[in-house]
């Protein structure tokens, strides 16, 4: 009843103030993305003449004959699309190879992570499993303390993992935080289901595969998204451990190099300025290409990751 009464109340000034604040927040989130998309479709000339903000613009040069018969040039910057920057970045074999590799890497890494996370979380839900408590504590401890980058680096060197693409998968296989979410979800599944299956002689592995996993698809989707986004967006592991193997660099590392590779230019030199405008457009296109896959996927999984995060917030 109360919710119904609330809905019937008319929106007050306070409500509209909140709406205005939310609109401002939406603008703050969206405009930076729009400005990059606009640049990626713009003419380099329009970029260096500071005409591009939130809409893609082209540069058109007209010849104008003045009253005294002199011929001068005049520029206009109409709204329009240009695909040169995309042709450039999509024709860049380095970038495209890294993009393809990152897709494969993300698929492998997410699959491996989900399997490992389930294998870790499920046995730890059995309350009378011996050693469960100590294993859980030792796992949780790694959330709050780690050896640090250099000891890790030295270990990977000794294990032959440097410049080895496996280093982009193995060390991140299990996120303790996501494993806890998985475990909490498993614990919420009624024990009676498990017990009756075990009465019928099902092994724990069969119970996991035939009962628990089918019931857990929403959480698996959420965790899969988190692992996939983490891998797609990650670059510090490549920076630390893959320095000698640029052919295995994931897309963020390649993008990092593209963005760092800005050479200082003299804006007064027209040749340099045009080159700079082109560089800006290509960088913008590279950013858009690296960003689009995630922006397409995450809204579809919103319901699941919100559930997952909420589960992670509950103590227990």
């Amino acid at each position: 009843m109360t919710t119904k009464r609330k809905k019937l109340k008319r929106a007050t000034v306070g409500d509209w103030i909140i709406v205005a604040i939310m609109l401002a927040i939406i603008a703050l989130c969206v405009l930076p993305v729009i400005t990059v998309v606009a640049s990626s479709f713009s003419d380099p000339g329009a970029i260096v003449r500071q005409r591009v903000s939130f809409l893609p613009r082209q540069e058109v040069i007209h010849e104008v004959v003045s009253a005294s018969g002199e011929i001068t040039t005049d520029r206009t910057f109409p709204i329009g699309l240009q695909f040169d920057a995309y042709a450039d970045i999509l024709g860049n074999s380095n970038f495209m190879r890294s993009l393809a590799w990152t897709v494969v890497l993300t698929l492998i890494s997410t699959t491996v992570s989900l399997i490992m996370t389930v294998l870790c979380a499920y046995p730890l839900t059995y309350e009378n499993l011996k050693g469960r408590k100590i294993i859980t504590i030792l796992i949780l401890f790694t959330m709050f303390f780690n050896a640090g980058a250099i000891p890790t680096y030295v270990l990977y060197r000794d294990l032959g993992l440097l410049d080895n693409p496996a280093v982009l998968v193995l060390p991140g296989m299990i996120s303790v935080f996501l494993m806890i979410i998985m475990r909490k979800f498993f614990m919420g599944i009624p024990d009676s289901l498990r017990e009756s299956a075990e009465m019928d002689g099902a092994s724990p592995f069969r119970v996991l595969v035939q009962i628990y996993i089918p019931l857990s698809t929403p959480v698996l989707a959420a965790l899969g998204l988190m692992y996939a986004v983490g891998r797609w967006n990650g670059m510090s592991d490549a920076l630390w451990f893959m320095r000698g193997a640029p052919e295995w660099h994931p897309i963020q590392m390649v993008l990092f190099n593209i963005l760092q590779g800005v050479t200082p230019i003299d804006p007064l030199d027209p040749g340099q300025a045009a080159a700079a405008g082109h560089t800006e457009a290509v960088q913008a296109a590279a950013i858009v290409v690296a960003m689009v896959p995630i922006l397409c996927v995450y809204p579809r999984l919103q319901k699941y990751f919100v559930q997952g995060m909420t589960l992670g917030a509950v103590k227990g």
Binding site: A11, D15, I18, M22, I25, C29, V30, P32, V33, T35, V36, V48, V52, S53, F54, M116, L119, P123, Y126, K130, T142, F144, F145, N146, A147, G148, I150, P151, T152, Y153, V154, L155, D158, M173, I174, S203, P204, F205, V229, W232, N233, G234, S236, Q252, L255, F256, L259, P267, G277, E280, Q283, A284, I287, A290, M291, I294, L295, M309, T310, K315
Partner: protein, 306 residues
């Protein structure tokens, strides 16, 4: 019991993972107490006692003494603490306020759209965010400077290249990235607040702001405390990718936070022992901050982490 064998078999790979990738590196923490040597196995290297400095008071602490007398290290500690404090001051209350406002939003569809959009920055990597920041704030053709120049004829503002304003940008982008995402937990906590309390307050004539302050906020206090403890546990840390992505050569003094220092002096200059000592210093301080905050939170009558 036979069925437990299956469970232990399942745990085999995950436990191996934690041993190899989380616990084994801890043996190499010994590097922090040893002479710098980038080739030989850690175990065979001599302890870093009275070498190089010549006036050491503690055995095997040479790397720590060296770090503390190294000006870039002190700079890194200073910068790390500075960014942590700014992040805490700006980034910690922001999602609480946003969650309170979202909760008051009457139009459900609009609320959902706002939430979806506000989660978006969380899904962008720091590299991509650095690209967005350059497109927006570059002094040459950045959108903000374009607008300033075209509408006000203003000179370009050095948003990303003057050290002080760069600090503001890093903090601001940090809030931008995390504020929406962090509302998820607070909103979940808010829905758990007993609605009868709101009705009682409303019946007593409490205004909306008063209800937000006296009902909703106390209702989510346990969650706020837990997240605050976790945030304090990273005061001596910083997000490596954030600073690597956003730094440029004009602000390198400010961008020198501890993880960046470890990268540059460890991998860049091959001072493994020095960098390992600094990493250990960072992680031990963070662990104690976390434990300390947890103890204080419990003493004050709240719930701790465990």
């Amino acid at each position: 019991m036979q069925r437990y064998w299956g469970l232990y078999a399942m745990l085999l790979l995950p436990v191996a993972f934690f041993i190899i990738f989380r616990y084994w590196p801890m043996i190499n923490v010994l590097l922090a107490f040893k002479r710098n040597n980038i080739i030989d196995p850690v175990m065979t290297v001599d302890w870093a006692s009275t070498w190089e400095l010549g006036n050491l008071s503690l055995p095997a602490m040479g790397n720590f003494e060296m770090a503390f007398s190294h000006p870039p290290f002190r700079m890194a500690v200073r910068n790390t603490l500075m960014f942590s404090i700014f992040d805490l001051a700006a980034g910690f209350p922001a999602p609480i306020i946003l969650a309170l406002l979202l909760n008051e939003l009457k139009f459900k569809r609009f609320k959902r759209v706002t939430q979806t959009i506000s989660y978006m920055p969380h899904f962008l990597s720091w590299i991509i965010i650095s690209g967005l920041a350059i497109r927006l704030f570059s002094p040459n053709y950045g959108t903000v400077n374009n607008i300033l120049a075209n509408s006000f004829g203003a000179d370009p503002v050095q948003f990303l290249t003057s050290p002080n304003s760069w600090v503001g940008m890093v903090v601001g982008l940090g809030v931008w990235r995390s504020v929406g995402w962090n509302t998820i937990i607070y909103l979940a906590a808010i829905t758990a607040v007993n609605p009868e309390l709101h009705e009682a307050a409303e019946a007593d004539g409490a205004s909306r702001l008063q209800r937000m302050w006296h009902v909703t906020l106390p209702g989510i206090r346990p969650v706020i405390v837990i997240l605050f403890i976790l945030a304090l546990g990273n005061t001596m840390g910083a997000d490596f990718e954030r600073f690597m992505a956003l730094r440029n050569h004009l602000v390198s003094s400010m961008a020198n936070v501890l993880p960046v220092y470890v990268f540059e002096w460890g991998l860049g200059n091959l001072r493994f022992s020095l960098a390992a000592a600094v990493g250990l210093f960072q992680n031990v301080i963070n662990l104690f901050l976390l434990l300390g905050a947890n103890v204080i939170a419990k003493k004050l009558g709240g719930q701790g982490l465990w």
